[in-house]
Amino acid sequence: MQIDGREVKARDDMTVLQAARTAGIHIPTLCHHEKLEPFGACRMCMVEVEARGRKNYVVSCLYPVAQDLVVRTRSERVDKIRRVILEELLAHAPNSPELVALAREYRADRDRFEKDASFCILCGLCVRYCAEVKQKNAVDFIERGARREISFIPEIAAKECWDCQECFALCPTSYAQAAYFLTEALAFPGRRKAGVANA
């Protein structure tokens, strides 16, 4: 197959994103993580594919490779999609270093849209890491549509989270950490490191 004009070899079971990364071609992602099942939610990894004369826009993290597929990782349209998606996310987290860096590359205006109160971008890294890697399901999505949010489940979080906290580092906006400590403060007595408690 061809990515950005280069001939690229890929295994049958790869996605376009995997094939590109193997070939050293960069495609931006926000909800993707090597240890997790592809999620296809942030849509940042959208690329243009052409097969049998038909042009299509697909998310590379899920799109399977195919013989003679022609992929373009940048084009005016692809860049526009990424720019608007970034502008939408910057309405939530205008200072997220990851988003700010991408915004520079795609010339996204962080003040284009009205700001929104929550700074979670719902990439689901914490939720999926907790379910797929740790198999604890201490944090999950609740609600739906524009009201969707992540929520630590006090009954589980009280037992599991203190000694783990591995999802905090995955979070592009530091929201996971904030949500955890808020849940702790509201719903169950937190443990404090001995030294701090006695100070």
Binding site: A131, N137, A138, D140, I142, E155
Partner: protein, 150 residues
């Protein structure tokens, strides 16, 4: 509803994780809300993480995690009712009951919600109280209709 009934519903589906929506629906229909300890029971019986049960329970509009009032008042806000003045009807319902959609009053008399289109567009705008349709409503008629529901 007593907990024996809830236990019975859950027992019927024990060990069948695919039945989650069916179980919650049956409990909601009978009990009118889903207490948190019941959700824990469902999770254990169907062998599903509690977080997934909570996710499903908060995702669907029909499921309520808080108790409902004695009378469930729905104002249809489908597009046809909207064009025929459902907004003003909703305002009147809020004024009469003193609560907003999604709320229950302090005396447990009413719960108010906006309803999705039930396909009776020809007779809209309408409010539905405990399943009974009140067709071709006007804001002025709201008080009269609701006063019969104690």
């Amino acid at each position: 509803m007593d907990s024996a009934n809830i236990d019975q519903i859950i027992e019927k589906h024990r060990g069948k994780p695919g039945d989650l929506i069916h179980v919650l629906m049956e409990i909601q229909h009978q009990n009118h809300w889903l207490p948190r300890d019941v959700l824990h029971q469902v999770a254990a019986a169907l062998d599903i993480p509690f977080s997934r049960v909570l996710r499903i329970a908060t995702l669907y509009k029909t499921f309520s995690l808080t108790p409902k009032g004695r009378n469930e008042v729905q104002v249809c806000t489908g597009i046809s009712c909207h064009l025929r003045g459902a907004n003003k009807l909703l305002d009147a319902v809020q004024r009469v009951t003193g609560i907003k959609p999604g709320e229950t009053d302090a005396n447990w008399r009413y719960s108010v919600d906006t309803g999705s289109c039930l396909g009776s567009c020809s007779i809209g705008p309408e409010i539905i109280v405990n399943g009974t349709h009140h067709a071709r409503m006007t804001p002025a008629k709201v008080e009269d209709v609701l006063k019969d529901y104690q």
